[in-house]
Amino acid sequence: MNDGCIASLEGLRDFFCASSAIDLKDAAGRIAESVDAAILPGTDWTAVEYEFNRLFVGPAAIPAPPYASAYCESDRVLMGKAALEARQLYHRLGLAVPQEGVIPDDHVAYELEAMIVLKSALRAEASSSPDTQALHAWFVREHLGRWLPHFILATRTHASAGGVVALATDALAAWFDNELNTIAASHPE
Amino acid sequence: MQSSMELPLVLFTVLSQAAIGLVLMNAVRQCRCAGPGEGNVRMEWTLIAAFMGVGIAASLFHLGHPLESYRALAHLEKAWLSREVLAAGIFFALAVLAAVTGREKGSPVLMWASVLAGLLVVLASGMTYAPPALPAVNNALPTVFFLISAVVLGAGFASWFAGAESQPLLARILVTALVVGLVVRLTVPCAWLSGSEVMRQTGMAWLGAPLYWVHIALMAACLGVLWKSRAIPVWLPILALAAELAGRAVFFSETIHTSMNIGGVY
């Protein structure tokens, strides 16, 4: 729970909600920095954008939808229970997705931002309340744990090896593994 | 789920029947030859317990929720599966007890209790796997198949433990069981061919399954070996076990379910 972790999370959040090559470049740079990885000089950021859209945005059918429901609901229907679960979590944190229902609440970028909020809260509270701790543990284990590994797998399966998307995915996977381990240590089931 | 071989169930039924067969052969030997304690009692019961233990463990893998398996005892009143679980559990407990307490001589009480529990397991398995949805085996056949397997495997593996004086007897039993088994296995699918539609389809499926012929061939091979050697070679039980596993895989994967034919003629 250091600044580096938050910065990495912010980079990941911004990466997965990027809407242009510029966004991607900026976010990827921050992700690379936070995990001590290097982005190849001469990276074609437009090509990264094409790949990003092919995987996560469309317009063609996307192999790795960045929404929890796509993995928790076996027929990949969006706005499923996972989305409502995420919505309830945000509400408990006193937050909400703007214009609820427009972008599914369980988009990975929203969830990463909620994670930033949770982690900041944990850090700020001298002896963080059991409530926040439990919420955080639940969010990582029960919610993210149910879909993020599948999302990461789908992304790895369809992303080009050694590319920027793969790098971001590795960073996401590394962060999540670490988060799971930390929780397992500090907050046994 | 339906089309799979149900490997956990294949292992459970075959291994449990091997264990039960060993107990049956133990009983036969005790009646016919020496008193209890012939051969290495502890080793024999350990193998019995191991077969049943591995079988039970394997069976857990066919459950969606293995940790909740204990609740399978809830419906003894009606469900043969609950009774099967209970009987297998009792059998396993008796076998473990016998293995732990077994010295020079096995306890006749434990042995006869195990025989009883074992026969109950075979009956309960036979009933469980004879559901109305599988017309070809919705009868006494599963019980017959399972008993034959138990005797074949029991006689085979018992040869590892029996004294020299019991070996000819075991060989005779094994030959008989194999012959009966072959006859049953060969005639039953052919009989199905002239039965109802789903039975006919089951017959076709069995006869068309490579594993079915593997089973037949291995049984025949066992018979051939016994014919030549007039005794049970030490490796033969393993061959027989392979045969039974193949046969059981066919039983679970190639028996046609009535629902596969809805809309068709029955």
């Binding site: 094409y50 859209n53 945005v57 469309g58 928790c72 027929d75 229970k81 | -």
Partner: protein, 761 residues
């Protein structure tokens, strides 16, 4: 439980794990405290929700299915937490009667598919898959600049084309045409592949296409369903056919395919494809011979019967009809007599039977059969084809003025389609019209100026337009293609820009049927997802950008509330016709038009020039056809087998079949052919075969069935979505049908006048 978001957990609530997770979020601290207490007697409360369904748990909205379908169902949508949970048919409509169809029930899947098109996107190179997200503003900027460039280059906007048809029949979607008008005079793909020949035929005979209320079919004593397959394409009509049958009517189904509808009739006729005219005329001749003509009707309410009768006597015999159609003369005589003596008797004229080079002539012959037996204007009778009587909206969205000083085409007149409700205004310029049924050829042929840009909405040309190989070549000549879509179709793949459009749950509109007389409102049930916008909102955005770049270049309003625009579609005439005070009354459920009679033409005042039923139509003759409904031969075979590509029950044109919910029941397409032909071609059931003709080819698995006539191949049209390049338009050319130009602006297309060969691969 990862289960789904309906009652499975919400109401039945046996999913304790799911509940515990939900409760965890609701009452974490309490639950935490309780778990620390040494409880012995009490157990954790698992909030067993009521086991009964509770309507108050939902917000309920009214929707209407906007697809191109007879049934145009009224929908009730159950929403919870802002999410569509499930839908059902409205009980208020006696037609929908509480149930939808296999397609309608798949709607929740369309909204929440992860594969929906979510954002405006630009493709760098068609068919490259290199897509970039752009803002609506940027998308509109590109489009507007292209439009201005075309105007600059050509001095007019005729280089911009619109290809739109029936993908969304919600009335406000005519705003797409309105948008085009508001930009100037453009090129319109006009006409319809659907039903134009029959529309013209009915207009020549009766003066309009106007059918009885389908619900009055129960009164019929004799029903002929001719070239229609309601069991697949109008499932809600089947209850009336069944009821008529139960009340003693005889049901005869005439179709080259033994359809599901045919299986529900009393008698099935399998005539030679496109011989329908001969069959109808043969029956007419027999009725004439037997003196079963309704002389009162033909003398008082019709003109030209004498000439028609003379034609029948001189040129038609039952034996000839039998020879042409393959139906035995004895059968023709029997059914003709029974039809003529039943009172009332009706014929449902399907759209399939007019998709031929002689389709219009065939419909006229059948109309004549119904008329000469006095079944026109009668409840339970009628030559049922379709109607647009409940479509009397304002077309506010459609009717937009061209910008000052727009120049366009000189000389093009006539309608732009059957739903063109503009009254012919005198203008010095007009839009340029080209035939929608020859989209590919039109793009290639149109010159001075050439077509530079195409706007596609409510349509999937690559799945529906004919001669697909040619279409790809044609698209490649276009400088810009903009598609407005929900899913990634082959058309989107061949576009430069895709704009995401709302589903029926995300916009306000109103829907009418061309078959029954119910009108239903479509409420916005959920907020539009992602950046999707309705067609009229897109038009408004484009207008804003156009005016920003070049003030006055677009007259379309720039701020739009879809609810207000819905309101603007209503008028007093509609209110009176529907018997409502205000459109908001439709929130209580769909409403049926207040009909003086369930029969069309009950007052015997026909819309023809003579005001009577016209067995002999001079107008028809003026338009280049026979004045009488004479027999016209169908298209000559150009290959070994007849090829039919009708509708599947699992989709509507290129919609629905791609949904995974649908693929649970309909996994792949099949070719259906007669076992005898298959034997000859050494083809076995479920073999993969190659079907080929002069247009192209496709590979497909075959099912053998005598439902299909010998020497016929049947493949149901559909778009199966990504990963399946099945497309029947690889085998269908763009040959025109005889009629359609009079009322829809372009002749129809001989979809079933096609031929092909087949071989095993």
């Amino acid at each position: 439980m990862t289960g789904q978001a309906t009652f499975k957990e919400d109401c039945m609530s046996q999913k304790t794990r799911a509940l515990s997770r939900r409760q965890f979020l609701k009452g974490l601290s309490v639950a935490g405290a309780a778990s620390l207490l040494p409880l012995r007697l009490l157990m954790p409360y698992s909030a067993e929700a009521a086991t009964a369904f509770r309507e108050q748990d939902f917000q309920i909205f009214r929707n209407a299915c906007p697809r191109n379908c007879y049934d145009t169902c009224s929908i009730k949508t159950y929403v919870k937490d802002g999410v569509v949970k499930f839908i059902e048919g409205a009980q208020e409509s006696t037609f929908t009667k509480g149930g939808l169809c296999v397609k309608g029930y798949a709607y929740p899947r369309r909204v929440y598919s992860p594969d929906r098109i979510k954002y405006p996107m630009v493709q760098d190179g068609r068919r490259t898959g290199n897509w970039r997200r752009v803002s609506w503003d940027e998308a509109m900027d590109r489009i507007a600049k292209k439009i201005l460039e075309i105007k600059e280059k050509d001095g007019n906007l005729l280089g911009m084309g619109l290809s739109k048809y029936s993908g969304n029949f919600g009335i406000t979607n005519y705003g797409v045409e309105g948008m085009m008008s508001s930009l100037g005079y453009t090129t319109r793909f006009v006409g319809t592949p659907c039903w134009p020949a029959g529309i013209d035929a009915q207009n020549y005979d009766l003066g309009d296409m106007w059918c009885n209320d389908p619900e009055d079919m129960v009164k019929s004593r004799f029903v002929i369903i001719w070239g229609a397959n309601p069991a697949w394409c109008s499932v809600h009509s089947m209850k009336y056919v069944n009821e008529a049958k139960r009340r003693g009517a005889k049901v005869v189904v005439i179709d080259p395919i033994f359809t599901q509808t045919a299986a529900k009739g009393d008698v099935y006729w399998q005539p030679e494809t496109s011989s329908d005219g001969a069959l109808a005329l043969g029956m007419a001749r027999h009725i004439l011979d037997q003196g079963l003509v309704d002389t009162d009707f033909v003398n008082t309410h019709a003109i030209g019967f004498a000439e028609f009768a003379a034609y029948l006597r001189e040129n038609v015999t039952v034996e000839w009809a039998s020879q042409v159609s393959g139906i035995p003369a004895v059968q023709i005589r029997e059914v003709a007599e029974e039809f003529a003596t039943a009172d009332p008797a009706t014929i449902w004229i399907g759209y399939g039977m007019q998709r031929h080079t002689n389709g219009g002539a065939s419909v006229r012959a059948i109309d004549a059969l119904v008329a000469m037996t006095g079944n026109v204007g009668k409840e339970g009778g009628g030559a049922r084809y379709g109607h647009l009587r409940t479509w009397g909206f304002n077309y506010h969205a459609l009717l937009q003025k061209q910008p000052e000083g727009s120049t366009g085409f000189i000389g093009a007149t006539g309608p732009k389609g059957e739903f063109d409700f503009t009254k012919g205004e005198a203008a010095s310029f007009t839009d340029r019209t080209v035939n929608i049924n020859k989209t590919a050829q039109a793009i290639l042929d149109t010159k001075d100026p050439v077509l530079r840009m195409l706007w596609v909405s409510c349509k999937n040309p690559f799945a529906q337009d004919f001669d697909r190989p040619k279409l790809e070549k044609a698209f490649d000549t276009l400088e810009m293609v903009v598609s407005v879509e929900q899913f990634f179709t082959e058309t989107v793949n061949n576009s430069d820009i895709v704009l995401p459009v709302t589903t029926l749950f995300e916009e306000w509109t109103v829907n009418a049927s061309y078959w029954h007389y119910w009108v239903g409102i479509n409420e916005q049930a959920i907020t539009p997802m992602y950046e999707t916008k309705s067609n009229i909102e897109i038009a408004a955005l484009l207008s804003r950008k156009m005016n920003e770049l070049s003030p006055g270049s677009c007259t379309f309003p720039q701020d739009i509330d879809t609810r207000e625009w819905l309101e603007k579609e209503f008028n007093q005439g509609m209110y009176d016709y529907l018997g409502i005070k205000h459109w908001t009354d439709l929130k209580n459920g769909p409403v049926k038009a207040k009909l003086a009679s369930s029969a069309s033409w009950s007052d015997m005042k026909f819309g023809t020039p003579s005001g009577k039923y016209e067995f002999l139509s001079e107008l028809c003759q003026q338009n280049g056809h026979d004045a009488l409904p004479r027999y016209k031969e169908g298209r000559k075979a150009y290959d070994e087998f007849r090829l039919l590509t009708p509708h599947t029950k699992f989709g509507l044109h290129s919609q629905f079949v791609n949904l995974d919910w649908m693929q649970e029941f309909n996994k792949e397409p099949f070719l259906y052919m007669h076992p005898d032909d298959a034997q000859e071609k050494k083809i076995a059931d479920l073999d993969t075969v190659r079907v080929f003709n002069k247009v192209g080819e496709l590979k497909i698995k075959v099912k053998l069935t005598s439902n299909v006539a010998k020497k016929s191949l049947v493949i149901y049209e559909a778009w199966f979505g990504a990963g399946n390049d099945f497309n029947v338009q690889n085998l269908v050319d763009d040959e025109s049908s005889d009629m359609g130009a009079y009322k829809t602006g372009a002749p129809g297309v001989a979809i079933h006048g096609q031929f092909a060969n087949v071989e095993r691969v």
